[in-house]
């Protein structure tokens, strides 16, 4: 990591000086890694109208953390990843089978998951407070080892994403059309849901359950206001995500606020700005 700290010394911030505020530098690297991946996945979430679904995935992940806590894992990440992937799979299956509106199904699953999570977490009179970090998130607490782990997960997601993007785009345009071209639409939806579930779960403790969905949805939504093709859509989403991530982190340092929320506020500003100027681009 020393190369990274060295690199940052060129920045004109007091925290960027040599040997100071290592946590800030770690957090900055984490934000730079996380933002593009969230933006890319977000583009498809917005394409598919899955914003509510991805929100529910966060709830599933939270329940996973609670279950992990009960089972006595020190780091409940493993159980959380498995639980939220299973949760995503179940929602996708039931959504596909049933005739009920999918937002109803997602609402049912989402509330059940969060209720179960809180139930398990407070069992035997335990205080909920120790889980607050999952709700608010604390990216400043990220360690170099965790950044390494994150980088590996993100690299896998990106490679995966490049392979399945075309198919997912077709499915999002029209499932029958995709089916006629030999795409097994249901399985692509399941795989995509699981990928989002994993990424949300892994990043939850740093970004915070309450705002993580905005992290996925906002950059893509803003890019959609002005993009005229898929290429612009993706590049703009990544750019908006990086800009809001980096400036959000730096501002949160100045204002001493929670980083996740500060980042989201910047994204919202970008969203509303692009929203009001969208006619100029369209």
């Amino acid at each position: 990591m020393s190369w990274w700290y060295k690199l940052l010394e060129v920045l004109p911030f007091e925290w960027a000086e040599e040997g100071r505020m290592i946590f800030m530098k770690n957090a900055l690297l984490a934000v730079i890694l996380l933002s593009p991946v969230f933006a890319l996945l977000g583009t498809m979430i917005v394409n598919n109208g899955m914003a509510f679904f991805s929100d529910a995935l966060g709830h599933g992940a939270f329940t996973g953390v609670a279950i992990g806590g009960i089972l006595g894992f020190v780091q409940p990440m493993g159980s959380a990843v498995i639980f939220s992937a299973v949760f995503a799979f179940l929602v996708a299956v039931i959504k596909n089978r049933g005739k009920m509106a999918s937002d109803t199904i997602i609402g049912v699953f989402s509330s059940t998951a969060i209720a179960l999570g809180i139930f398990l977490a407070t069992l035997d009179g335990k205080s909920f407070a120790r889980l607050n970090s999952y709700l608010i998130g604390d990216i400043l607490s990220i360690t170099p080892e965790e950044i390494g782990f994150l980088a590996i997960v993100l690299a896998i997601v990106i490679v995966f994403w490049l392979f399945i993007f075309n198919k997912l785009l077709l499915v999002s345009i029209n499932p029958s059309l995709a089916g006629s071209r030999g795409i097994r639409t249901f399985w692509y939806e399941v795989v995509f849901s699981c990928v989002v579930a994993v990424i949300v779960t892994v990043s939850m403790s740093w970004i915070g359950l309450l705002v993580i969905n905005s992290f996925l949805v906002l950059p893509a939504a803003a890019a959609r206001n002005v993009a005229r093709n898929q290429r612009q859509y993706h590049f703009l989403a990544v750019a908006f995500s990086l800009i809001s991530g980096i400036t959000g982190l730096i501002l949160s340092y100045s204002f001493e606020t929670a980083t996740g929320s500060t980042i989201i506020l910047i994204s919202s500003v970008i969203f509303f700005f692009t929203y009001f100027f969208r006619k100029r681009f369209a």
Partner: protein, 265 residues
């Protein structure tokens, strides 16, 4: 690859009886509702077969079942002219209506690249692929639409684009589900002309669900009257002039009128 095997007009004259699609005993039941039963059809290569029928007759269901999207009984057999081996045919499909998110930043080019390219459509767009897409669009007189967003196309434009997409790769069976509304008369005429050209240029079976009897009369080679099952098949004039056609569409008045020597619809 199919293009190399099939040369243009290879079987217009004589082999059409050899290369055909057999739909045998097709049936679709959803819950306890029988949507289709005992559907038996022979579809010949190089012919445009129009499927007509009243609302709820199961026309779109038949298309979905043929695509394998809906569970069904019976079988679909495809026999090729050069050998007798049965195999799963390559299908092309133009959906009836696609609920597009009109704000979607997906252009016609994106749509084609997503369907055809090995690489992610947003990241890599090779010149070769773009040229190919242009060529495909030119076949349906839509090359000017390549960088338009699909949400900004008119009904007729979108349908031609989807047709071009269904023809890439050239399928053995082309399934067209004509929209009930949203396309003006000129657009419809242009669409039928294009389909008609395609039938002549490639050796493929076209199955078209249609609502426009004038177009059917003008362009279809064979007509299938469907209402839960096949009521009548034959040449357009045979089917559109038959009693069962008038009964199915409850056109009593026209039927009587016709027997008095009046003009049919």
């Amino acid at each position: 690859m199919i293009e190399s095997k099939f040369h243009e007009n290879s079987c217009r004259q004589e082999c059409c009886g050899l290369c055909c699609t057999k739909i045998e005993n097709f049936g679709v039941t959803i819950g306890s509702t029988v949507i289709l039963e005992n559907v038996n059809l022979h579809i010949h290569c190089g012919e445009l077969t129009a499927i007509i029928g009243p609302n709820g007759a199961g026309k779109s269901t038949l298309i979905k079942a043929l695509l394998g999207e809906m569970p069904h009984s019976g079988s679909l057999k495809f026999v090729q002219s050069d050998d007798d081996i049965l195999k799963a045919p390559v299908m092309g499909y133009v959906p009836q209506s696609i609920n597009l998110d009109i704000s979607s930043p997906t252009t016609v080019l994106d749509l084609f690249l997503a369907s055809r390219s090995k690489y992610p459509a947003w990241l890599i767009r090779s010149k070769k692929e773009i040229a190919r897409v242009n060529e495909r669009l030119a076949k349906v007189r839509a090359e000017h639409l390549i960088s338009r967003r699909i949400g900004a196309l008119s009904g007729g434009e979108l349908q031609r684009v989807l047709l071009a997409l269904a023809l890439d790769p050239v399928p053995e069976i082309l399934l067209l589900d004509e929209p009930v509304s949203g396309i003006d008369q000129n657009g419809l005429e242009l669409f039928y002309e294009t389909v008609s050209d395609i039938r002549k240029a490639y050796d493929l079976s076209i199955i078209l669900v249609s609502h426009d009897m004038d177009m059917v009369r003008k362009y279809a080679d064979r007509v299938v009257l469907l209402n839960k099952t096949v009521l009548k098949t034959g040449l357009p004039d045979e089917v559109l002039g038959s009693d069962v056609f008038y009964d199915t569409f409850s056109l009593k008045w026209q039927k009587e009128n016709r027997s008095k020597g009046g003009e049919a619809i």
